[in-house]
């Protein structure tokens, strides 16, 4: 009976001043909802960043030339020319557990067609590039080994380039484009990988590596990067260290700190990105947490006002023999019920807000985890107990004589 009595008394007192109770609950609703929404945005960002990194390739190790030093001044990573086609061949032939190796020559050029033009990235590579970088063909085909051998003037377009040069939904296959005043025939188009702005992986034209060397960047045996795909996730580390050893030996460098190339593997990038977005999520959640704290203070304020207003009633309850403990429990339960109701409504509002964010900013897919919801409930109940504790104790410790006399 104690529990039912407690609940009835709590509801009686909360419905006694509906406006005040609702306003106080509103504080908690806003607090909880903003925590839920902020965490959902953070976790959504984390997922979408991890997904876009994964779309770069599978079990990928990226080898880039080291930074060139001119008079002791670093020119930035990838600025020197140290990697060659032979390095790529050596990796493919000598390192075990390598699925595919794709050396690439990259540059930015103006491409034109039908009077339209676009400045885009040109990637000259081999057929393995599709495997290593998860490039999927939408229509047409990727170039073949024969076309590489013959330096064929063929090109595969990313969807963004197609849109820019031929317009959306146009079929570019068989059409001609000009890069560096050399005419290339379009033989395929890739499936969109997503991504926007600087990381747009769809704003690209793929051509055979030999063609890039002959017609675009000039005769060279150097490549801009080599992408290696390991057979599986577990062999990634060993493949990476073997590539490093092999290249050090081939470049005749004895001190690994002086290496003229750098290796990055995909899981490192994901780990780094996750830790960045994790920090970002924590930051957002802490800002939202402040509003929850303010909501909690609102609860305390209301409870203190209530205790003062109901002093005589508390005195009466004590006079008719209701024990201190029950008075304490009753006021505490009022605070907890308030925050709990606020918590429920806050979670619902947070879910709606997350949907709304996703609806308006489509690139930001929010995701609400069960742990975020449980945390929100835990925190709101905790806020109720912490901020209800002092007012409840004050009520319980009132002297019945003083309380009955209170005007």
């Amino acid at each position: 009976m104690v529990f039912i009595d407690l609940l009835k008394e709590t509801l009686w007192s909360l419905t006694g001043n509906k406006v005040r109770s609702s306003l106080t609950i509103l504080g908690i609703i806003i607090g909880i909802a903003s925590v839920i929404t902020m965490v959902a945005i953070g976790q959504g960002a984390q997922k979408s960043i991890a997904a876009s990194i994964e779309s770069i390739g599978s079990n990928l190790i990226l080898i880039q030339p080291g930074s060139e030093r001119i008079g002791g001044v670093s020119q930035g990573g990838g600025s020197s020319q140290t990697l060659t086609m032979e390095d790529a061949d050596a990796i493919k032939n000598e390192v075990p557990n390598v699925k595919a190796v794709a050396p690439a020559v990259t540059t930015r050029k103006q491409a034109t067609a039908n009077g339209n033009n676009t400045n885009t990235q040109i990637i000259g590579s081999t057929t393995d590039y599709t495997t290593v970088r998860n490039v999927t063909i939408d229509t047409g085909s990727f170039f073949t080994d024969q076309q590489i051998a013959s330096s064929a003037k063929v090109a595969v377009l990313g969807p963004t380039v197609r849109d820019d040069l031929f317009g959306a939904n146009a079929n570019p296959i068989g059409q001609y484009i000009k890069i560096n005043n050399v005419q290339f025939q379009v033989i395929g188009m890739t499936v969109s990988k997503g991504g926007t702005g600087f990381s747009n992986q769809d704003d690209v034209i793929y051509i055979p590596i030999t063609s890039a060397e002959h017609y675009i960047v000039g005769e060279t045996t150097y490549v801009n990067n080599i992408s290696v795909s390991a057979v599986d996730q577990t062999s990634l580390d060993s493949v990476q260290s073997q590539i490093s050893d092999l290249l050090l030996a081939r470049h005749k460098i004895s001190d690994p700190t002086q290496a003229d190339f750098s290796l990055i593997n995909q899981s490192d990038i994901i780990a780094t990105a996750s830790s960045v977005t994790g920090t970002f999520t924590t930051l957002l959640a802490s800002i939202a947490g402040i509003s929850l704290l303010v909501g909690g203070i609102g609860i305390m304020n209301m409870m203190l006002t209530t205790v003062t207003e109901r002093t005589r009633e508390i005195g009466l309850r004590k006079a008719v023999g209701i024990k201190k403990t029950y008075i304490n429990m009753q006021f505490l339960s009022e605070a907890v019920v308030l925050t709990f109701l606020g918590g429920v409504a806050g979670v619902i509002l947070g879910m709606i807000a997350s949907r709304v964010v996703t609806y308006f900013v489509s690139s930001l897919t929010t995701s609400i985890s069960l742990s975020a919801i449980l945390l929100a409930f835990g925190v709101s109940a905790g806020v109720g107990i912490i901020f209800g504790f002092y007012p409840a104790r004050r009520a319980a410790n009132l002297s019945p004589i003083e309380a009955l006399r209170y005007e």
């Binding site: 009976m1 009595d5 005589r312 008719v320 023999g321 209701i322 024990k323 029950y326 004589i401």
Partner: protein, 233 residues
């Protein structure tokens, strides 16, 4: 059944000592109707608080039903108030926007009794105190002063207490209603209830069978009283 021996209560307010009760001794037997009368500051309120187990004396003994009360702790005092003492206050002290029935059931909160039991007892108590049944579901603030005090009396009776302590029960009522409420107390006394009335009005004290005059913390006079038949103006 009430036995007070050498009750002394001293209040400390900073360095100032106030002696509210000075070595007061008296006894009240079961079934008595006693008025404790005195001007304000006489110590009658302090005496009521001690008799009502709301406060404990600085020294001396207070036995209620053979039990020593003056050294009980807070929870024990609560239990004693719940089971042995019914309070009726000057300002009624009913819960606002709450039905008459719920008000009367208040002392049964957090006990093991079921809702039906409570309601049954509350109804009996209200009838006993002379409330009309069609008012049971009214909200407390829709009642007249006299009706409110009847509800308060019903509330004080619900646990079948050893004594009913009434603190200026007519202080907020007009003469006519006061008379009705005092008549109600007399009826309760006729049914065997022990009633202690605290007041500063001789008219009100006069309904009792014994009057204890208190002044400056001492009993000035303790004498039986023959209630006059009060004529309603």
């Amino acid at each position: 059944m009430i036995n007070c021996k050498n009750l002394t209560k001293i209040y400390h307010n900073g360095d100032v000592e106030t002696v509210a009760l000075n070595d007061v001794s008296f006894q009240i037997e079961k079934g008595e109707f006693v008025s404790i009368i005195g001007p304000s500051g006489s110590g009658k309120s302090t005496l009521m608080h001690i008799l009502g187990a709301l406060d404990t004396p600085t020294s001396g003994q207070y036995h209620l039903d053979g039990k020593e009360v003056s050294r009980l702790n807070d929870d024990e005092l609560s239990d004693l108030r719940k089971n042995k003492i019914g309070f009726v206050f000057q300002s009624f002290n009913l819960l606002p926007r709450t039905t008459v029935l719920r008000n009367v059931m208040l002392p049964l909160l957090y006990t093991d009794s079921t809702g039906e039991e409570r309601e049954k007892r509350a109804r009996e108590s209200l009838k006993y105190a002379g409330m009309e049944e069609n008012k049971f579901m009214n909200l407390s603030n829709q009642l007249s002063g006299g009706q409110m005090q009847r509800v308060a009396i019903a509330r004080s009776l619900i646990n079948n207490p050893s004594i009913i302590l009434a603190d200026e029960p007519t202080g907020n009522l007009d003469t006519k209603t006061s008379h009705l409420v005092m008549k109600a107390f007399q009826e309760l006394n006729d049914k065997g209830h022990t009633i202690i009335l605290i007041t500063h009005e001789m008219d009100v004290a006069d309904y009792a069978n014994r009057i204890i005059h208190i002044r400056d913390g001492n009993i000035e006079k303790d004498a039986p009283n023959k209630p006059n038949d009060h004529i309603i103006a």
